[in-house]
């Protein structure tokens, strides 16, 4: 008996080690390249904080004799800290050899997934879930018929049913408002547009677009460019015309973080970052203190991101989503850029054009900007086709942008109403077409949430009666971003809400361990 107990103790110890190894993991997320991270790992905090004592009941199959046993695992607690821990079962290779799973069970595309090679379906790697699947009628039938499909599934393959014919999926892409496709009417406008060679300044539709936008923002002139990245790059390089220039830019700004350091790499302009506040602004006092004087040690500050009339420095606005801002405030875009010497505006985002942005400023500024566009290779020939899409967008899509905001709020509200502790949203922060969902980083992190949203489980499609895939983007370890845009229909909104609520419920139900 004692021996048994001691053996058990030893087994517990070794299983405990295994258990911890499998279920509690130190993860390290880089915020930039999510793809390079591979698929989701259970997200938990620092391994150093793992408690040294707690009691957990786990049902395990004894690898020696195959019996199912309830094991009690003891861990001792770090009494100073109150922790909530959760685990999700990882797939265990030993299962493949087991009776019920032999011949069809395989690893899934993630550590907490398994794959049925007979049904071509991805499953959650919980033992009970796998047993349930094994006992299912469809699976048994297919197993008999000898279906084997060993290919590693993508997330979407999880919605293939027993006949391997994909269901009609509802896919809602909320990763960004850049995914918008040109409508038939927009394409017709593009088709009919008169064009010329814009490099010779002979494209009338490009001219029409440039004039339209300049007028709209009450500036002298505008320049059509292929992208928002190039628009901002051109503006900075045009302002910072001389050697040794510096620009003051928000430390969370797109220009500072998401343009590959272009103004430095390509333009030799120095970034001086200023701390962004949660509302997107920065302190004017901080700004004052950053402006350089005349000293050979220092670059000459030539560009700022906010009101700086007093400091006599030019101001550029990255207005990629300026129209969204203007709609949200109920103010004309011209009013918003009143103090700006230059503005960049995107047609390819919420406005729905296939590509293109505009640089806006004085005539003299645009003349120099044209030179910069040339050296960057941004001059397109018969660009009128795309300018036409931009004109269409400004006439027909800009006026309905408030719909995107309403839809965003609807989704945010539905998440807020659930009062989940796993996924939360700051309703007041939803001002335009963007919603940020915050994950508790215990049961779920940003990457996991996005993966879960983009896949459909057996249980889910049965319970919901639908197969909905929603695509969102993780933007930090714990924040997921969704963006509303003109390609999202009413049906889609309902589906997104339905899916979100279902998943949130899953997380809220997830087994967790609480101890004091």
């Amino acid at each position: 008996m004692e021996d048994d107990g001691a053996k058990k103790e030893v087994m517990v110890t070794s299983m405990k080690a295994e258990y911890i190894e499998h279920s509690i993991e130190v993860t390290h997320f880089a915020t930039s390249d999510m793809e390079a991270q591979g698929l989701g790992m259970p997200g938990l905090d620092d391994a150093a904080d793992v408690p040294t004592e707690m009691t957990v009941s786990v049902e395990e199959q004894n690898p020696n004799d195959g019996r199912l046993e309830v094991m009690e695992l003891k861990h001792s607690i770090d009494k100073k800290k109150k922790r909530i821990r959760a685990y999700s079962q990882k797939f265990r290779k030993e299962w493949i050899q087991m009776g019920e799973f032999q011949g069809w069970l395989s690893e899934g595309s993630a550590p907490d997934r398994a794959y049925c090679t007979v049904c071509s379906k991805e499953l959650l790697a919980g033992k009970s879930e796998l047993l349930k699947h094994a006992n299912g009628k469809k699976h048994k039938k297919r197993l008999e018929e000898g279906h084997i499909n060993m290919t590693v599934p993508t997330d979407l393959s999880s919605v293939l049913d027993g006949t391997a014919i994909p269901h009609v999926l509802q896919i809602v892409d909320l990763r960004s408002d850049t995914v918008t496709q040109p409508s038939r009417e927009m394409k017709e406008a593009m088709f009919d547009a008169p064009v010329g060679d814009d490099v010779f300044s002979e494209d009338p539709t490009v001219k029409a677009l440039e004039e339209k936008v300049a007028r709209m923002l009450e500036k002298e002139a505008a320049l059509f460019v292929p992208s928002g990245t190039m628009a901002n790059l051109i503006c900075v390089l045009t302002h910072c015309w001389g050697r040794g220039s510096e620009v003051i830019v928000g430390d969370q700004s797109h220009l500072h973080l998401w343009a590959q350091g272009g103004i430095a790499q390509v333009g030799s302009v120095h970034h001086r970052s200023i701390r962004n506040l949660p509302d997107g602004t920065f302190s004017l006092q901080d700004l004052r203190s950053l402006v350089r004087g005349d000293d050979p040690h220092w670059p000459v500050t030539t560009l700022l991101g906010t009101l700086c009339n007093e400091l006599n420095l030019p101001l550029h606005m990255d207005g990629a989503r300026l129209i969204n801002a203007s709609v949200a405030l109920g103010t004309s875009p011209a009013r918003l850029v009143q103090w700006c010497d230059s503005v960049s505006l995107c047609l390819n985002k919420g406005l729905g054009a296939p590509m293109g942005s505009l640089v806006v400023g004085t005539k003299e500024f645009i003349t120099r900007a044209l030179r910069v566009r040339k050296v960057l290779g941004g001059g397109l020939h018969q660009a009128g086709m795309f300018a036409a899409a931009g004109i269409y967008a400004l006439d027909h899509i800009a006026p309905r942008l408030s719909l995107d905001h309403t839809n965003a709020r609807a989704i945010a509200q539905s998440v807020s109403e659930v009062h989940s502790s796993a996924i939360t949203v700051d309703l007041k922060g939803v001002q335009t077409n963007v919603v940020l969902l915050h994950c508790d980083n215990i049961r779920v992190n940003a990457k996991k949430l996005c993966q879960r949203l983009a896949s459909v489980t057996d249980a889910e499609s049965e319970e919901m009666g639908e197969q909905i895939v929603v695509m969102m983007l993780p933007i930090t370890e714990t924040t997921v971003r969704l963006m509303m845009h003109c390609d999202v229909k009413k049906d889609d909104i309902k589906a997104v809400i339905k899916k979100l609520k279902y998943i949130i419920q899953e997380y809220d139900n997830m087994m967790y361990l609480e101890y004091k």
Partner: protein, 298 residues
Amino acid sequence: VLHHCHRRGSEVLLGHLSHIHIYEQGGISQVGGVHPRVLTNLPDGTFSLAEMQRLVRGDDDHWPVTSLVCIENTHNIAGGKVLPLSWLDQLGTTCQELGLPVHMDGARLFNAAAALDLPPARLIRGCSTVNVCLSKCLGAPAGSVIAGTAEFVRSARRLRKVLGGGMRQVGMLAAAGLYALDHVVPTLSRDHALVQALATAMVETGSQVICCDPQGAHTNILLLECNPKIVTPQDLCHRMSQVSDDEAEATGQRVVARILPITDSAVRLVVHCDVTEKDIQMVIAKLKYVIKELDGKM
């Protein structure tokens, strides 16, 4: 260029009359920090391989590091010249021995291929990377394509990103490109034939003011050399864009021909898929009239 010359202190060897060197605002230097070292372009668009080898830098702190050789096919300023295949092959072998990659500015590569009646792939055999334009003789509204190894394309995507060249639903542009490759490429020799018709007609006038070399017109570009004492390239372009009443009476047509000056002494005419045979006939008629005018001034 920025891909091949990614390290600090790189140098690229290229023709002194290449588009990259003359018409790109010094971009490789301005934006990429790369130093250009020119090789003397010969009238046929090539350069001396011996000169190239001589100019390859060794290992010395005074010297930048030679990282790339650039060639241009067809060669624009040389008059749309097709680089000889044998020279291309020799260049390829030589650069391989030197351990230098070769990039071809093949903006008009398809014209070269059509002129030689060879697949474009044959012409770039010795090249590591190539640039082809869809927006020129191929007729697409915009766009170019760069090609190379998978590793190059990965690196090129990053470079495209930082320059702001990444666009969204560009399938529309790509579709135009695909159409162009399928339907316009096969018609390129027609453009070449029209240039020959123009050139032959010019030679037939026997003018001493405006001269051209039909054999030197390999593709869709024709250079007309002007006698500087009588007319400058700018003047000729200006004259061609106007119609005098006398001209209209004499020729029975009112035609404006838009052409560009390209060197101190020559104007460039480029024939393309939007130019019809009738257009060429009218241009010939006009040119003949203008040449008579100019000859009269001699």
